[in-house]
Amino acid sequence: MFTKKRILQFCTAALIFLLADFWMYSTLSSDFRAYEAERNFNEIELFAKTVPDERTAQDFAQWVPTVKDIIPGARALYLAFDEQNFNFIAESGSETARALFQAYNSTPDFQKAMESVYYLEPMKLGSTYQADYSLDPDTISADTIRSQVYFVPVVDETGYQVSGAAMILVPTSTATGYSNLLKTLFIAAAVVFLGILLVLTFTRDPLTGFMVLGLFGIVIVFIAYPLIEAIRLSFMKDGVFSLQTWKESLSPTYLVALWGSLRLGVLTATISTLVGFIFAFLIERTRFKQKKLMTTMATMPVISPPFSLSLSIILLFGNNGLISKQLLHLDTSIYGLGGLTLVQVIGMFPIAFMTISGVLRQIDSTVEDASLDLSATRWQTFKEITLPLSVPGILSAWLLVFTNSLADFANPLLLSGDYRVLSTEAYMLVTGRSNLGAGSALSFILLMPTLTAFLVQRNWVAKKSYVTVTGKPSTTLTELTNKPVRITMETFSWIFLGFIASLYLTIVAGCFVVNWGIDYSFTLANWGEALARGWTSIRDTVTLAAIATPIAGLLAMLAAMLIVRKNFPGKRILEMLIMTPYAIPGTLIGISYILAFNRQPLLLVGTGAIIVINYIIRELPVGLENGITALHQIDPAIEESAADLGADVPTVFRTIVLPLIRPAFLSSMSYTFVRSMTAVSAIIFLISARWNHLTVLIFNFSENLRFGLASVLSTILIVIVLSVWALMQIVVRDDKLTQKTISTR
């Protein structure tokens, strides 16, 4: 593969291209600089012609600042000609220019320029000078900027004699925008060319090479680069390296928020795990009717839109809540740790439930039978056998919920009250004080515990599982509970689910009430207004999610195929990078995106594209995992047969891989759609006047106490999400049936 000849070939071609690329770049940029200088010169001469007819000092003082209207950012200083001493004296105008003039007027360059001005010749100085623009009241930057210096003569009334001169500073940075763009383009061209060359020289299957390269490009630009940019900016203050931001972020004010996040996380994780365990145990280890119903109901909150549970809690228990105020006349507030824990537990216990029941399901219940056979009591068996065996599942569940709780953004935004958590704190910093650096620093602090929990879960707990897959799930199930215990657990579960159901019903009720908390009479007016004001948001949200869905699905499956079936350098890194957004809080992604994509050549802030890209990047990990699991179950000989018969990689993907992993593909797509429809933590940073998101609109309405409108939009969102979800469940279930009948030999 890496033979000497090929390396030589590669190096030669690369060298030739790089030289050509560099040559083209330098010609173009010097052409551009020359053009720029020429243009400025013309403009400056134009400016010189606007010299006022009245030539008092005051007129000049009014005249010189107008240079800005001709060349943005330029500064001018009027120099009067002193006939006695035969030299120019700074009179009025920009302080920046004055300082520069004082510093340099005796240099040969300036002398020469003034001489030529005396002979009525305008002049541009050969070199550029550092000028400190902060001296002027209308500062353009706190930094000193390299500037071009021009001198133009101002003639007296006769028109033949010099009476003074204007010295004009033009910051070179007005041109750097363009030349930066030029530079980026040429660097990009070089990178792309080298990549293509690399693939063409060193692989025997260029198509695969290009796909791998493309994936790398995507993850580097849209995952690695924003994060690096966020890290970089958190270490910068006013354009220079500084630890200021981090010092601030680690100050007691924000440590309180960190402590708040952690406390909330621990509480939510512990309670959710407990509740999840009860549900999982009921479903997997006892016998009762309506297991299916219970499972479905208990998994629902996972796909419930953000704000909906909080909204409903506020409607019931808020300051003007139906239960707290109208029924019980209480004066306690739901805002704060208590309310937050409540909504988070409701929203996140399904994660614990699903994780633990996955583990319980795989514990062969014959192990329990054996223990009972050895005359252990049921309680002993549970304590000594079942519980220890499910410990990895319980730990996993706890860590997963903990991660989710810390990253949660929507609920604290509505419900935290005076209680402070990091995710919303970062949001306030960014939106309230436009302090992006501090926002990203806070998100990084938030990342520490979530990432730790995620990695511990992944690499330690998940591997420690004692579960022995016997392959034969035992059909008989020995109940470990006696009847009273089971009935108690069952009753608890139904009440819990009933409470959740009533929360959703509250939202529906909220749609038809004039003014919740004050006037409970029936109305349909909310619908009209909500639809009128929210229609574009609904349309945009659905459109953007619908665009992101197939792209994310296809990309995930393609990446899965490449990672499972192909060998290429950097495979681990690619997989890790794709998985990264799974472990980091949405807030951080959102902030890093506005930091990274707010300038050329990747000026995406404000477009719909940045939202779509964000959806895709955030949902790729789950799709990738689905795809990888699915592919591992497919005999590689099937794909190899297709390749052998003449199919190239894209054809194999299209005709063989995709149809075979269709269930994974479809469920990843539905997952992406639902998650995109209900996204908020990253999206809230990325929406713009043009592209709004339904969830953000719901938040705005709730914050402004327009609960009726918020309820209507929440209901609409829930209906959309539920129907897509249900549809996909049906399709995938059918698919699995057909799959089973045709695949297994």
């Binding site: 099937i638 390749a643 018969l645 003449g646 063989i656 030999r745």
Partner: protein, 366 residues
């Protein structure tokens, strides 16, 4: 289907795999160098893990040789991906497309070649007829028996008229009877079409009965290449001798060589041997190899090796006598046992052989 025959050449091909942990390398194929003639069927035979599959996969293009070159015909294909090679592989697990019918499976290769629909239908039906599956076009592969699936795989490979057919233990999932039928069928079709074929197996009977030539491999090395008769009768090492058939080995000392007659010391006796590998030298230790059917049991003292019958196993057309000797247990095959004197179990006997039916092998070869 038209005949087209090309050769396949492996030129000093070596394949190293990175170990799972990336520490040391596994050498799966070590400096393989041989030519498969046009229209020839060559089997790769050897114990598990000797690199047969890897060799085949390199010819198909699924693996890239670490060193060396591969030619199909006169064209070098070392770097060509599988879809650009004119080879067709039959996998041990068949690799049928589970989401397509039998017809679509077979038609897949033709569709990729953008052949008009009517032609595809015609050729698929022809090919299905060839493998005896005319009525099964609409079935899903999973609704077929193992043998039928195997034939679908064969049809799918044959329909694209590959220059080279590669078969990786294609019959190992079938029962004994079906295996024999399919073996005959594959050989028949291969000969009819004149396709060059490489057949991987670890079953020596399959290798012997099927191939023009056999390549015997061990630990990535090619140990011997030859016709079935050749490797059976004239193995060049103790390993090959033992792998391709039953054999007894006796340690001897080579005393002298006259023309092609070698005189050796076997225990107390001096024996003469007519055949030997080229690396046997006078004055060294060597191994005398004898096939069971080349040995005879005679009365005590009349043969070359003394022993005692431990057990007789009657097989109908022949009998196997297990005889304990000072060199260990020796198997003697007695053909047409009824025509001969049979020695009882426990009887003291002697084993005899003629100089032209045994072979001297170099002692140092494993």
């Amino acid at each position: 289907m038209e005949k087209k025959s090309v050769s396949v050449t492996l030129e000093h091909v070596t394949k190293r795999f990175k170990d799972v942990k990336g520490k040391s390398d596994v050498i799966a194929v070590n400096d393989s160098h041989f030519v498969i003639e046009p229209g020839e069927l060559v089997t790769l035979l050897g114990p598990s893990g000797c690199g047969k599959t890897t060799t085949l996969r390199m010819i198909a293009g699924f693996e890239l040789p670490t060193e060396g070159k591969i030619y199909i015909g006169n064209e070098e294909v070392t770097m060509l991906p599988p879809n650009k090679r004119d080879t067709a592989t039959m996998f041990q697990s068949y690799g049928l497309f589970p989401h397509m019918t039998v017809f679509d499976n077979v038609a897949y290769g033709l569709k990729l070649r953008k052949i008009p629909h009517e032609d595809i239908v015609k050729r698929v039906n022809e090919t299905l007829a060839l493998v005896g599956l005319s009525d099964y076009g609409d079935r899903a592969p999973s609704k077929l028996s193992g043998g039928q699936q195997q034939r679908v795989a064969l049809a799918r490979s044959l329909i694209v008229t590959p220059s080279v057919l590669l078969l990786d233990e294609p019959l190992s999932n079938l029962d004994a009877l079906l295996r024999e039928q399919m073996r005959v069928e594959i050989r028949k079709i291969q000969k009819e079409l004149g396709i060059t074929a490489v057949y991987v197996t670890h079953d020596r009977v399959e290798a012997m009965s099927l191939s023009d030539r056999v390549v015997v491999m061990k630990d990535g090395f090619i140990r011997q290449i030859g016709s079935p008769i050749d490797i059976y009768e004239n193995p060049n090492s103790r390993f090959v001798a033992g792998f391709v058939g039953k054999a007894a080995f006796f340690p001897v000392r080579v005393k002298k060589q006259e023309a092609n007659l070698w005189t050796c010391q076997l225990g107390e006796k001096e024996v003469v041997v007519e055949r030997a590998t080229t690396d046997v030298e006078v004055g060294t230790e060597a191994v005398l190899m004898a096939r069971p059917e080349s040995l005879r049991v005679t009365e005590k003292g009349k043969g070359k090796i003394e022993g005692k019958v431990r057990m007789n196993v009657y097989l109908g057309n022949s009998m196997e006598a297990f005889i304990n000797t000072s060199f260990g247990e020796v198997l003697v095959q007695i053909d047409d046992p009824h025509a001969k004197k049979v020695f009882e179990e426990g009887e003291e006997v002697s084993i005899d052989f003629t100089p032209d039916r045994v072979r001297l092998l170099n002692e140092n070869e494993a």
